[in-house]
Symmetry: C2
Subunit: 256 residues, 2 copies
């Protein structure tokens, strides 16, 4: 079976890209074949895997416009078992261009229909908005993973995101489920993190993964070396937390 997971949250800077890069790497290290699709015009997931802008000959933009198939646009990374469809700035234009075309919100779903057939996991890194790119990802996905920064302002948008997922499930993608909410940048030194974490767990219970990702400077250093944190410093608290998260995610599949 193949699972397509959209990693989404319209709030900016909550750890979407970091979660895609490091969860994908942990799943690949456990022997699963993984494809990451960078769907953010910033191209941060592509950078995090060490792919320079000049090396992104084919990209997720080409897949959306139909110029290349998913398999043509995907490339190897330094991580065994892990392939990537990189993002370029052109993607900024896609928000506008997609609006005028046919089947505008199912372009990615159509591409996944006959592409990435041998991947066991496909992870989609979404931009910080609920525009056309994120809608395409939610229509294409089987499940949604929501990184939630342990900050007050990050809580504000959560209900809006969950309503949007509901709306897409009812209108465009009946099988779409929320796989879970991942608490990120959890800082034991600061009371606010604990307050937010308790609040979210009280309201959403089992939907929240037990594994919380700690704030850990090795995580934010890794992208400057073009490496996932597991390859940069696998002993770090950050790397270990993402390994733990991958284990918990796989456990949820066995449970259901």
């Amino acid at each position: 079976t193949r699972r397509v997971i959209a990693v989404a949250n319209q709030k900016g800077g909550v750890g979407k890209t970091t979660t895609v890069i490091n969860l994908a790497t942990a799943l690949a290290a456990a022997g699963h074949r993984v494809l990451v699709i960078d769907f953010d015009p910033q191209g941060n997931a592509s950078t995090g895997f060490g792919i320079e802008p000049a090396a992104r000959q084919r990209s997720s933009y080409d897949v959306l416009t139909g110029e290349h198939s998913l398999d043509e646009a995907s490339m190897d990374t330094q991580v065994p078992n892990l392939r990537l469809v990189p993002a370029t700035r052109d993607l900024v234009g896609a928000e506008v261009e997609l609006l005028e075309g046919q089947r505008r919100d199912s372009r990615l779903r159509d591409a996944l229909f006959d592409g990435a057939a041998d991947a066991e996991f496909v992870l989609l890194d979404c931009p910080p908005s609920l525009g056309m790119l994120t809608v395409n990802a939610l229509v294409a996905a089987d499940e949604v993973l929501v990184p939630l920064q342990c900050e007050f302002l990050a809580l504000e948008g959560l209900s809006h995101l969950l309503h949007t997922v509901d709306r897409i499930r009812r209108s465009r993608n009946p099988d779409l489920v929320i796989r879970g909410i991942v608490l990120t940048m959890f800082d034991r030194r600061n009371n606010l993190s604990e307050v937010v974490a308790q609040d979210v767990r009280a309201n959403l219970g089992d939907l929240v993964f037990e594994t919380a990702i700690p704030r850990n400077v090795r995580i934010s250093e890794a992208p400057s070396h073009g490496l996932p944190v597991m390859l940069y410093d696998w002993r770090s608290a950050g790397a270990q937390a993402y390994i733990q998260l991958a284990r918990e995610l796989l456990g949820r599949y066995n449970r259901d």
Copy 2:
């Protein structure tokens, strides 16, 4: 004179909203009449001033559609000298709706033509994208302030943002200047902050404000009380840094 300042950066979570709320409050405390326009569908700036969603009867969306003038949509806040045009979720639709209309990227500029005449500063909080809302803000603005988080991934998008500002200056808004780059969430304990700060100062020199905003938990606690950090805890390092930034900004006007 009136100065319209767009606070923009397509990278998410870098401190745009925090900078708008607290710089606006510091300028108001210094006796200047300030208007904040919340241009982000998340409505975080409105929340940061304690305006509940139910109290946002008129909003920046109504101004864009022409249903209300800027002056009709603006409201008082708890901060003397500071008024706000709040944001609601409707704004998400504006990205799409604006595309189909006339004068789609100068709706805000048109509204500012005969609105907010008595404000000395108008601060625009932009969403984390370079879509229609941010373009509208850059077309309407006299100057741009760029919050830059001291993180590697945040550096990546800076040149793209500066090119976008250039493009808007050449095609739509010849007087648009970059007022400066503000380093945010600077953490003395972590080497990465220092490396990023030195790199940016070496490349952009005077464009970077001397005042760096430290990572300070009181800043992230303040929005949960609906207060700018100056009103929540004016002795905190965060509040003092924004007071200092306001002073430095005013100094730049005297200098030029």
